[in-house]
Symmetry: C2
Subunit: 334 residues, 2 copies
DNA sequence: CTGAAAGCGCTAACAA
DNA sequence: TTGTTAGCGCTTTCAG
């Protein structure tokens, strides 16, 4: 391994000067700088991040924290989009991403411990297990964090405008002439609750009655399975709603499948609108109308916020990104 | 920050002894060990991974390399399953995972460079861009690697038994009475080519004629879109096949959508079988019959192989995991 | 503009 | 069983 000492020796200068060159200090003569760069190139020098971190107390590493048991974790399109956006801007600013788990070295020890041992500069939290005490511990720590889809007074947060999105969905259905509008909810997740709120608020604004039997809670994991089950339940009511707003596309897809299985047609018999705009829904028949969440933007903005904090910015920030309704074929006008 | 010096001072011993305790050396008396552990606990001591890596020349970090432009990357269920399995065993053995990119510090520099700077102990490669010169450079390097779905003489590799899987699919269709069997391929990916091979071999074994017009290449990204397009093309032939084997579930889903759109029924008019068994296909109507790939097992086995190499094991290993056909509703017997 | 010296926190010979 | 000493590769005063 070639070090700055090797370069210094060959370039005929001190290690300090070499270091300065690589850290863009201005007090190095063009001539020595050139010489150093040249020999570094020749020797194939690469800096050692660990040594660097050790002295600087800064690792240029960001931890990624997401739900551990796969199920709702990395498999979820939401996660994928967010992480992609996050990665893009964080790498462009010199940070690398590292998975943070509760375990380290094969022992259960918690997120904070893991972060401190690895010396990550900050952590982005996506889809965590809310009630997890290890997660709470992280919230209480002094580690810079940004949380997605979460409320907190301790850490910066970012989310889509779930309430507005849900309201838009309901208002759209209303404009199409629907009055009996049902809701399949995302359970007790942050987003699920906001979307339910939006639904309720819009119904109220529009003077539409909220039938308790039209409001079904799916499970917080937003699976198709859960959407199927919710729709089964909804179908038990004597007079069906003419339209249903599902709190997530997966829920909507599940609901759609159940409808088909029962011989009901979308949108002829029942209109359906989702939330998220995951990749696949535009390929469905009928293509799903939904509220698009810009996961990539969520991720990149989250990175901006976190890096701001890491680099000394103070104060807890909150951001909310607009959503837009994407009209396709799953809602009909009455 | 608490260091081993702090502990040594308070526990009344030398830093060396403290270090020994944390590295499970046997030559420490139970008494001092206890004392050290106790004061470490009191002070809230946490080891510093960077310092450790610096001296040991070992970072207990594994790089994760996957296709960079999101499209076919992290969003693909294949990736998700594999990484989950990989993460499980590698963290249990004390390794953390870090994303490896071509860029570092905001500059394009290549995978090898990134790995060396960060001092990762090894790299797992999933869905890389084959032709990428940076990827070639990694292959030529001395960095321990394990490649998924790839052929190589330089690095260890692991994949599912794609050929056998494809053959099973065709044989199954044959058993159901199908003779005109088409194929929607996965393009020039490793898996795509193997599956095509398996299809051809099975057809030959069964003395079935391979109609060139029945073999359509989807794009290597295995999208639903590509499956739709492939099926459109297939529908141009005058006499349709009675069954189609698609090299990936997404392709199959796309194909199914096109069929529905064209008023053809699965499996009544045409039988369809996929490959992968991604989450969603069991929720389709009809539920998709497919060849299941055990992505989790792929990931965990890959971790075993890589760690074996990292920890001094020699030689290039290859592994191939069996697949199994999952029979659901999308194929009918003639 | 350049460099000597100290130190980041830890491990590993080697003595004692 | 314990401790001394010397690094690992880098950055950072501070003096020249």
């Amino acid at each position: 391994m070639v070090t700055i000492y090797d370069i210094a020796k060959i370039a005929g200068c001190s290690p300090t000067t070499v270091s300065k060159v690589f850290n863009d200090y201005s007090d190095v003569s063009p001539k020595t700088r050139a010489k150093i760069l040249e020999t570094a190139e020749q020797l194939g020098y690469l800096p050692n991040a660990h040594a660097r971190s050790l002295t600087m107390k800064r690792s240029w590493t960001i931890g990624v924290l997401f739900n551990e048991p796969s199920g709702a974790g990395i498999l979820h399109p939401y996660f994928a989009g967010v992480i992609e956006g996050f990665k893009k801007v964080s790498t462009s600013k010199g940070y690398d991403l590292m998975f943070v788990t509760k375990d380290i070295g094969g022992k259960k020890s918690g997120y904070v411990e893991h972060c401190k041992i690895r010396g990550v500069d900050g952590v982005v939290v996506i889809l965590p297990d809310y009630g997890d005490p290890y997660f709470q511990e992280l919230l209480d720590s002094d580690i810079p964090c940004v949380l997605l889809d979460q409320e907190s007074e301790q850490k910066s947060t970012i989310c889509s405008d779930n309430i507005a999105g849900a309201m838009q969905a309901v208002e759209y259905l209303h404009r199409l002439g629907h009055r009996r509008i049902g809701h399949i909810g995302g359970g007790h997740s942050f987003a699920g609750e906001k979307r339910l709120q939006g639904y309720l608020r819009a119904m109220e604004n529009l003077n539409l009655p909220v039938e308790p039997q039209y409001v079904i809670q799916g499970s917080y994991d937003y699976t198709m399975e859960s959407g199927q089950a919710a729709m089964e339940e909804l179908l038990l009511t004597d007079e069906l709603p003419t339209a249903v707003f599902a709190a997530g596309d997966n829920l909507a897809v599940g609901a759609m499948m159940t409808l088909k299985k029962r011989g009901l047609r979308v949108p002829d018999d029942i209109s359906l609108i989702g939330f998220d705009d995951i990749e696949m829904v535009k390929f469905l028949t009928p293509a799903l109308t939904t509220v698009r969440q810009d996961t990539y933007a969520l991720g990149s903005k989250a990175a901006d916020m976190l890096i701001y904090t890491i680099e000394g910015g103070s104060g807890v920030q909150t951001a909310m990104l607009p959503v837009e309704i994407v009209i396709r074929e799953s809602c009909r006008s009455l």
